[in-house]
Symmetry: C2
Subunit: 244 residues, 2 copies
């Protein structure tokens, strides 16, 4: 059927185009046509077409009435809205997990991830960034499953697909921020508090905490704005955000 460990052409096309968009090679508003892309990626139009369809539903592309697609363009409000929405969804998951009771195995796993994050902080005031980022992502994915609802989990991961709404969105690039270590310490404290609230069946607290936690991304984003436009090419997906 064509999907052992060999990826399908459709999958290849999706990844390739997504990478080209996120890297900034296709800037916001750029027009993409099937034929030119199929020539560039050395694929036929059929899998490419499916790939574009997927990217449209991911929100990275949008249809042009006159035919073709263009790379999506977001403004500052869009970024903030996306982050807000992720906060709301993660907050809902946390609340439902608290109200319904979360799977103990998931809770244990999540606590284990937080222990690992703690271990990434060393005593000399440094942090192992390359360890932190995937652990942070793993924690958020675990939380997303705690409501026990595949439907809600899907929507959380959906919104997190947006390059600037993901929990890991603006972590890369924060290395140089003054006080970023303190920010990470606060984030980790919030992680702990969220699990604590879920365990204690404190739904309202869990929801509020998760929402506030997402707000950190806004802070990080605001910093990147001030830091200047030279970061546009370094942070994947930032090229899609206009007027930075």
């Amino acid at each position: 059927m064509g999907d052992g460990d060999r990826v399908s052409q459709t999958e290849r096309a999706t990844r390739a185009v997504r990478a080209l968009i996120l890297s900034g090679e296709f800037p916001a508003g750029a027009r993409l046509t099937e034929v030119s892309l199929s020539a560039r990626l050395d694929l036929s139009r059929t899998p490419l077409r499916q790939a574009m369809e997927r990217l449209i539903s991911e929100g990275l592309l949008s249809r042009i009435p006159s035919g073709g697609c263009q790379v999506a363009s977001f403004d500052l409000d869009d970024v903030n809205d996306a982050i807000e929405l992720r906060g709301v969804l993660e907050g809902t998951v946390a609340r439902l997990a608290a109200e319904r009771g979360a799977d103990p195995a998931l809770m244990a796993e999540a606590n284990g991830v937080l222990d690992a994050i703690d271990a990434a902080f060393s005593d000399d005031g440094k942090v192992d960034f390359d360890a932190y980022v995937p652990l942070n992502a793993a924690f958020h994915e675990l939380v997303a499953r705690m409501a026990g609802s595949a439907l809600i989990e899907r929507e959380v991961s959906r919104i997190s697909q947006l390059p600037f709404a993901s929990p890991s969105a603006f972590l890369r690039g924060q290395e140089l921020v003054p006080g970023f270590l303190a920010s990470l310490v606060c984030a980790q404290a919030q992680h702990r508090a969220i699990l604590e609230a879920i365990a204690a069946r404190e739904g309202a607290r869990a929801e509020a905490l998760a929402r506030e936690h997402a707000r950190l991304a806004r802070k990080n984003f605001a910093f990147l704005q001030k830091a200047g436009p030279h970061l546009t090419t370094r942070i994947p997906g930032l090229s899609l955000v206009k007027s930075i």
Copy 2:
């Protein structure tokens, strides 16, 4: 380019398959293959394939590892989760509208819709149901736009696409429910209160109201459960819900 007022084959295929699923002709879990469907609908596989892709992203279909798709199957928890999620999203829109200030033109239009709903209630204790349902849908769509965020509006309409999560989901079929008129009166009171809270910039109240308002759908759904399985074929999409 293929879309004047004549719909494309892809669009035709999408509607046809969606209708077949919602009508219950394809029951939950039924396996659908491209070839058999293309033969049945007298289309080639290409547009059909795209249609199935869309329905997958809508959540009505899901891929089978061994190839092909099957009609999605939902249980009671899924229905409640979807309704909960819509409540959360509409609540977020209402809160943001209150916090940011809603477009006066939208507010006026929404108030107009509510006046029209009032008019659908006649003095003799009856209600014009055929008028109520589309007006109710229109109100919810207007509210979804009030946060001024295309991104959030899209997610609201996305979740509302699920046949049992839409604001109009279980209205049809309620005609026979004892006390359904009272329920509609309460719903309308909530509509008014939501707009009032938005206008007064009472974000928390607007959010709580919108969430609670969505809960009415749960109540309606619970009634349909008790009413028995003979409604499965009458309410579109109810055939997807298992163990009813």
